[in-house]
């Protein structure tokens, strides 16, 4: 049945640890991971609670395919109410940690309350305990990870932890596992910090129970062959990683630069995935648990510093978005953000917002104190202000640590914040790709590229090529992508598999692993339920349809150049159709009948 059948409930206020049965009746409706934990969160907290209060809960969850041989079956999700958007947060991470949570015997961990002092949680197969973390508080991610592996006595133990940014409640703090993999978005690290929880260590050797091992193995072998035979997952991603996109997106005219004031960047090649290889910085690629793609980058810089990354998004927001292309600085800043436990996208876009604000007179020079000016093109500023934000070391950085929307709004210029629902946008300009722009606008966590990656059909041509400027028919694609992605996330697999696999492929593997015997349509129905459940949570939290929009720049300032010159985003043409396809009211509210039909209420 693929589930371990047990989950941990840890109350950090009183130190109690309980083992409970995984609610398999709910798993049949919400799959696992993001879906199941989201439903549990909705059942157990008032969506209106302060995200950083003890009343919020923090759930680490695996999916049914985590800890199986399914390709990429090692992911986990962190589900909570996030401080950045104020809505449901579900951050997904790779590496090994998710598989090891199940190897220790648990499908998920529900963390409640707030510890009176810094602690960490040790989840070993034979013993679970809360331990003192006074010696770790203030430490960066690599030192914390190494120390905890040594303390566990098990060299293969896996550590998920926060860095200084999470401790300081930076609204876009990440949770890092195995040093380099991030549950990055929506500020889940700040929630962990608010609970005085520094880390969770996992280790065990248990296998996930599969009803028919032979059948499952044969299916998995078939799916791996499909992934390896696909041009994207079998060639482009292994060779160049996600940074292969730099030139693709720039040449297609939707590569934002200078805080989205422009849609292309002249020197993109200098910092692209190709340049990373040609300059000799890439030492090897590596993969997460059971991954046949292996897109992770192991990099060594001329200055001797080593680390993983950068991914496409990070390379962009630590480079061209800020007006420079120095690959050394980009990589170094990526290493630093990982060490500090910062979400790179929100950190980079917040800095770019500040650069535009300074350029236009909304930040005074004296606010930098002795630090470098936040000016486009100033490479010095990036490393300096990343660190300042993580530690909240001066007044300006302290305000930036709330994210670009709060920061720009309190200074009277919210139009410079490139966010949707309060979360910073990723590296695809909505003026160049109409469907993806809608994905940001109506996404349950706002500015985000992994809830419905319409770049696949609109730019890459997978599974078929759509015109990026067309609006007709796009909302049906968005509907299907949102539902399917909800299932993929909740199953514990990586979204990258979807470049090669179809909805039927996921249904095959889920049926063989869980024994549920659902049709593909029934699995997609689970995805629809998950999507609506998340939106229902947000609505209860006070985030209504009025937030289904984009920064006004994309409506008022046409693209300056390239193939999309003169284009704006055409949200008003698409939003009513999206609501209609979803079965919501014309105002974007989920009607009671829909909630009942999906068995959400």
């Amino acid at each position: 049945m693929a589930y371990m059948g047990k989950m941990l409930r840890v109350n950090l206020t009183d130190g109690s640890i309980k083992t409970e049965d995984t609610p398999l009746d709910l798993a049949k409706k919400y799959v696992g991971g993001r879906g199941l934990a989201g439903r549990i969160l909705m059942n157990e907290i008032d969506p209106k609670v302060d995200a950083l209060s003890p009343e919020n809960k923090l759930i680490f969850a695996s999916g049914p395919l985590s800890n199986t041989n399914a390709p990429t079956g090692g992911r986990y999700m962190v589900i909570t109410k996030g401080p950045l958007t104020g809505g449901i947060a579900s951050s997904n991470s790779g590496g090994q940690w998710g598989a090891f949570l199940k190897k220790a015997g648990y499908d998920m961990i529900i963390l409640e309350g707030k510890s009176p002092k810094p602690v960490y949680l040790s989840v070993m197969e034979d013993k679970v305990e809360i331990r003192d973390a006074a010696h770790l508080w203030g430490k960066r991610v690599p030192e914390t990870t190494d120390t905890l592996i040594a303390e566990s006595g098990e060299k293969n133990a896996k550590v998920a932890c926060i860095g200084p940014a999470g401790e300081k409640l930076v609204y876009f703090a990440s949770i890092m596992n195995e040093k380099h993999r991030a549950a990055g978005r929506t500020g889940v690290g700040a929630v962990m910090g608010s609970k005085n929880l520094k880390a969770i260590v996992t280790f065990g050797k248990q296998k996930s129970p599969i009803p028919d091992e032979d059948k499952f193995k044969a299916l998995v072998k078939d799916k791996i062959t499909t992934i390896r035979g696909n041009g994207i997952t079998g060639e482009g991603l292994p060779k160049f990683g996600t940074k292969v996109l730099d030139n693709i997106i720039n040449e297609n005219g939707l590569y934002p630069s200078y805080n989205f004031q422009d849609v292309q960047y002249d020197n993109t090649y200098n910092m692209s995935g190709e340049a990373l290889v040609e300059k000799g910085y890439l030492t090897k690629n590596s993969g997460c648990y059971m991954c046949p793609i292996a897109c992770a980058r192991n990099v060594e810089l001329p200055n001797g510093r080593k680390g993983e990354g950068p991914e496409y998004e990070t390379g962009w927001c630590f480079g061209p978005l800020l007006g420079f292309d120095d690959l050394n600085v980009i990589c170094d800043a990526n290493f630093l953000a990982n060490d500090l436990g910062l979400d790179t996208i929100s950190a980079g876009v917040t800095i770019s917002c500040a650069m535009e604000m300074y350029e236009k007179g909304f930040i005074k020079k004296e606010e930098f104190e002795h630090g470098p000016e936040l000016k486009f093109g100033n490479t010095e500023a990036l490393m300096y202000w990343l660190k300042k934000m993580a530690y909240r070391e001066n007044d300006l950085a302290d305000r930036m640590a709330y994210g670009s929307l709060r920061f720009a709004t309190e200074r009277g210029c919210p139009e410079f914040s490139m966010t949707a629902k309060g979360q910073e946008l990723p590296a695809y300009d909505p003026r160049g790709v109409q469907g993806m722009g809608m994905s940001y606008a109506v996404g349950n966590r706002g500015g985000d590229h992994v809830r419905s990656y319409l770049i696949a059909p609109e730019i890459l041509g997978a599974p078929e090529k759509l015109d990026p400027q067309a609006t007709e028919g796009k909302m049906q694609w968005l509907f299907i992508f949102q539902n399917l992605t909800s299932v993929i996330d909740s199953s514990g697999l990586c979204l990258f598999t979807s470049f090669a696999l179809s909805a039927d492929d996921y249904a095959d593997m889920l049926n063989a692993a869980t024994g549920f015997d659902y049709s593909t349509e029934e699995w997609l129905r689970c995805g629809e339920r998950i999507w609506n459940q998340e939106r229902y949570f947000n609505y209860q939290a006070g985030i209504g349809p009025e937030t289904d929009t984009l920064p006004k720049r994309f409506f008022d300032e046409p693209a300056k150049r390239g193939p999309n010159k003169g284009q704006v985003h055409r949200l008003p043409e698409m939003l009513p159709e999206y609501y209609q396809i979803r079965g919501w009211t014309a105002e974007g509210i989920i009607p009671d009948e829909k909630l009942k039909e999906l068995e959400i209420v």
């Binding site: 060639e235 693709i248 997978a462 193939p563």
Partner: protein, 93 residues
Amino acid sequence: MGMTVKFFATLRAALGVGSVELEHDTPMTVREVLERAEQETGKPIMQELFEDDGSMRIGAMVLVDGKNISHLNGLDTTVQSETLSVFPPAGGG
């Protein structure tokens, strides 16, 4: 007239050059441009981009001044002095 054909990702590595410059007197189709580029580099390009049935491989693309030929006239798209950007199958996120 002059035309620049730029190569990216694994194709760039396979060809060993980042771009080729082509001189021509009359407008050409994208198919003719790619065939000329194959002659210039001495290495296959078309087979990296297209399936046996002539359809574009998933993730591959040919852009004419940033516009995908899938939304123009495919390989029969006529070009004069534009820049062509050629990508073998690639993607990410």
